[in-house]
Symmetry: D2
Subunit: 178 residues, 4 copies
């Protein structure tokens, strides 16, 4: 009985693959630059969320503005996801918004047999700003990764988009279904 309860409420793994993007840009006081410099999602977002039933594994792969990603980067991301499928845990991917749909489409076309939910997200404003949407988007992506069936998605601004039917709407500063 006790054991059964323990199993029922045991934390489940979620893998977060970080690739950079606006969401992870940080400010350098010394030179005044706002750039990608590795991941700080643990300190800036995860430490402020309450996740008693979730065991987060952070897997940093790239730290790039997505405008500067090329096909080699996309291949690396897709291969990382494909390799991580064997963990049998939902996957959240932090990615710049400018080419997020492009990378998600690349993964959709190149990864065989998606066996877990793979949820891309990012932000219009870097984490660490008062009015960032990073915390909202990560919170939503982590929950959607638990609730969605296997497949590739973009989660953004309280909306789930099924890849490849999604694009960024730069004027509206969000994503939209196509």
């Amino acid at each position: 009985m006790e054991q059964k309860n323990t199993l029922k409420n045991a934390p489940k793994d979620i893998l977060i693959i970080t690739t950079g993007g606006t969401i992870e840009k940080t400010y350098d006081e010394f030179d005044g630059s706002l750039e990608n410099r590795g991941t700080s999602i643990k300190n800036r977002i995860l430490s402020k969320l309450r996740l008693p039933y979730t065991n987060i594994i952070v897997h940093p792969v790239l730290s790039k503005d997505s405008l500067y990603m090329d096909d080699a980067d996309r291949k690396l991301i897709a291969e990382t996801i494909a390799a991580d499928l064997e963990l049998n845990a939902p996957i959240v991917i932090l990615h710049g918004t400018d080419t997020m749909a492009l990378t998600a489409n690349y993964c959709f076309e190149h990864i065989q047999n998606i066996t877990v939910p793979v949820v891309f997200t990012g932000a219009m404003v870097p984490m660490g700003f008062d009015d960032t949407d990073a915390t909202q988007n990560v919170t939503e992506a982590l929950l959607s990764a638990k609730l969605l069936p296997p497949g590739i998605y973009i989660s953004f601004h309280n909306q789930i988009f099924k890849v490849p039917h999604v694009q960024k709407n730069k004027e509206k500063r969000t994503f939209e279904e196509i």
Copy 2:
């Protein structure tokens, strides 16, 4: 084509029924009290989220610490939910944590034919505190209300619990499956 896109990306309604609870307690500078005094979810949480595809309707019903709710309050909440089912929109209910499971069970037993997702949530720390879990819980409840099938749930700390298989764990300051 343009019209089709508009329909695809049209905002969808979510109804938020507020009943009080820790999540909605506010501080009064004049007398130093921390109490339920109507709803402030619009100013304190919704205004800080980006919800381009979500049209929130706030329906205040009660403003009570859930320790002081009785069966008449639960009857009122259940009847409100039952009446609001005709809107055919997902429903989120803000409620104190101490008797949230009791009220959710009451609704599970008394509402016939639940045709939308009905998601209870609340918080351990009132909105407006630095370390509140209110924003996280509301963000998650709004998304789960879009993704879950019809039924009654408690959404809390990145976990979805199916009513009636859920209770508060006071020592762990969260909910758990039973």
Copy 3:
């Protein structure tokens, strides 16, 4: 030359005596109470300020809502200040607003030979709330403690009041000169 620069820019001590009050009330998730439970000024305020030239010494004396302070408490506070004068460092005192003027007057009447600035402050809203005035008031008190001549003051809402010519204005939620 190097040594001279070091001396010029050496950190100077400021003593913070804590007595409780709204400014230091904290929320207990377990029972929902908002009460004085020791000092948390280091974690909640000082850790967020940049004080390269200031060495803060925190001296907790009481942890009480000032409505419940009596003359024995005021005697203790005055004796603590009198004893701490020998450190020859400016003194900031965190205190509830309801009887802050009373305690400050008591100190004004009972402490002989005030040789440093003694600055009382507090807050209308506890530290840890989004809209607290605690950070502003502590920031101002720390600076005024460096700039004012020896004497007893209340520093509140960007205004310095000379004791005993000051009282709380409960309706305006601030202090005023009398």
Copy 4:
């Protein structure tokens, strides 16, 4: 009697001259740039402070990274200050840190007969970031402008520096006495 109290507690003017600098850089979601684009001190800082006895007048003059300021800019700033002296109100100047000491020295040398406190401040991290020092520095500058005798100062990180005996210490991310 009533009139006397009103006069005692009447708000006093402080003039804030804005020139740009890191403190006022804002993030543009559309192109991802962090730049000076006019002043936002009212919304981002002043609206969050409690200033019942202070009447702030914001006077925008420039909106430049101080690395790009030249002598024409410094002449404009000094002439603005000189002209504003007739208001007989303390003056706070928001300025980039990289050449703040240079501009302050320029004013020290070119403005005759400084009849009010003139306090320069800025920030290492723009307002709007979680860990900005802008709110602290503005809070301190506003108070020091009330307490200091006429003269030119830099107020930064809870320390007051008398111009021209001050310089930026880039490695320590603050100012220091020279």
